[in-house]
């Protein structure tokens, strides 16, 4: 029975370590939140969303605070994006949302710049100031330019 006990302890430690690993992947890296109904939902309309996809991150000052929930074509033929962000955020009503591209991989995400008003966005309200997707070509051009310079230096 003693060997059984040691074995059980080993199994227990193994499971705990693995769950910690899963937890790290899911919560820390994956940004999954327990109980997503506590999210603050805000909307934004863009003329052009580029390659923005559902589940793209929403960041403030580069810090991930939520993700894109849904993208639909609104009545005015603009892209209406629904975002779920952490509900403890206080977003001034004059905050602006812009679609930006991350790194070389070119994933689109939404960056929110905070405004200065004392009034804050309520659940389900819309961010009025928006900046549509940055033109991809410019970024690529910049990249090629940089690489060329490096090559010449070599």
């Amino acid at each position: 029975m003693d060997s059984n006990r040691n074995r059980d302890i080993a199994v227990g430690l193994f499971v705990l370590a693995s769950l910690a690993a899963i937890g790290y992947l899911a919560l820390q890296l994956g940004g999954a939140r327990l109980g997503s109904d506590e999210d603050l939902t805000v909307f934004a309309r863009f003329d052009e969303i580029g390659g923005l996809k559902v589940r793209a991150p929403v960041v403030i000052a580069g810090v991930r605070v939520g993700q894109v929930d849904q993208i639909v074509l609104a009545d005015d033929y603009r892209a209406k994006v629904r975002m779920a962000v952490a509900n403890d955020l206080e977003l001034p009503i004059d905050s602006s949302a812009s679609i930006v591209t991350s790194g070389v991989l070119g994933d689109r995400y939404i960056s929110i710049q905070l405004g200065g008003e004392e009034q804050y966005l309520e659940d389900g309200e819309e961010i009025e100031f928006v900046e549509s997707a940055v033109v991809l070509e410019r970024l690529i051009g910049q990249l090629i330019h940089n690489t060329n310079i490096e090559d010449e230096e070599d």
Binding site: N4, R7, D8, A10, V11, F14, V15, A17, S18, L19, A21, I22, Y24, L25, A26, Q28, L29, G30, G31, A32, R55, P57, V59, G62, R64, Q67, S102, G103, V104, L105, D107, Y109, L143, N146, T147, E150
Partner: protein, 257 residues
């Protein structure tokens, strides 16, 4: 010519027969998992044998793979001046692909082959018949706990492999002078829970089912001789490895994981 056609025909019949047998076998295992008494003691022993004893190989391989990814990624990204994306590259390739697949392949080699050999030997030494004569269903007592343990252990090992890999990539990256913070934030911003982590988890579970099923089936149906057991063990490793890679493609293609 007719011989060749006949050969194809008999192979096809054999294949269909085999698929049917595997399906029946899986059904039997499922029925046994629901049947009383629940074999908790046996299950825990198998988790120990398949999981805990695989820890060292999984962790070492994980760190090594992560370190290689870090090196290769760094060298490639450096050309584009994008070494800050190293965390993203290492993390995503580990989570989406290499973690589950390599874990499954390693587990096949270590635990899958052992499972087949053990069940095959039990059959060769009449231990399975001994259980039957004691009115104990060997699938209930021997096979089902092993298969279930394989299915549950696989995602756990895979997660450990991924975390070890990320750590390995981190060590290499930081050694080469990448900012530790950008490695980790790169990871955090690019990894999505549903797209990447959940997909990785699903892959690991599917691979666990494949390896668990193939290894137990091959052991259970092994010719009860030492040669038969050795053939069955080899078959397990070959079939499980091929199945893992083929299923990996289809899961990736169908679910975009």
């Amino acid at each position: 010519m007719t011989d060749a056609i006949a050969l194809i025909g008999s192979r096809a019949v054999q294949f269909v027969h085999e698929v049917g047998a595997v399906a029946t076998f899986s059904g039997h295992i499922l029925a046994c998992l629901l049947r009383r008494p629940a074999r908790i003691r046996r299950y825990l022993d198998e988790v120990f044998g398949l999981g805990v004893l695989s820890l060292i190989i999984i962790c070492i391989s994980g760190i090594a793979v992560g370190a290689v990814l870090g090196l290769q990624g760094y060298n490639t990204l450096e050309r584009f001046g994008a070494t800050d994306s190293l965390g993203t590259v290492v993390g995503l390739s580990l989570i989406r692909e290499l973690g589950p697949v390599l874990t499954a392949l390693l587990t096949t080699g270590r635990a899958g082959s052992a499972t087949t050999a053990e069940i095959g030997t039990m059959s060769a030494t009449e231990q399975l018949d001994g259980l039957r004569m004691m009115s104990i269903d060997p699938v209930h007592y021997v096979v089902a706990p092993k298969a279930l343990a394989m299915v549950t252990v696989m995602p756990l090992l895979s997660a450990l492999f991924i975390v070890c890999g990320i750590a390995g990539g981190y060590l290499v990256g930081v050694y080469w002078g990448i900012d530790p913070g950008s490695y980790l934030t790169g990871l955090e911003t690019s990894v999505d829970f549903r797209e990447d982590v959940l997909g990785s988890f699903i892959k690991a579970v599917v691979f666990g089912i494949l390896v668990g099923l193939i290894s137990t089936y091959r052991g259970f149906t092994a010719t009860p001789t030492s040669e038969g057991v050795s053939i069955a063990t080899t078959t397990t490793v070959v079939e499980a490895s091929v199945c893992i890679l083929v299923f990996d493609y289809f899961i990736t293609a169908l679910w975009g994981v």
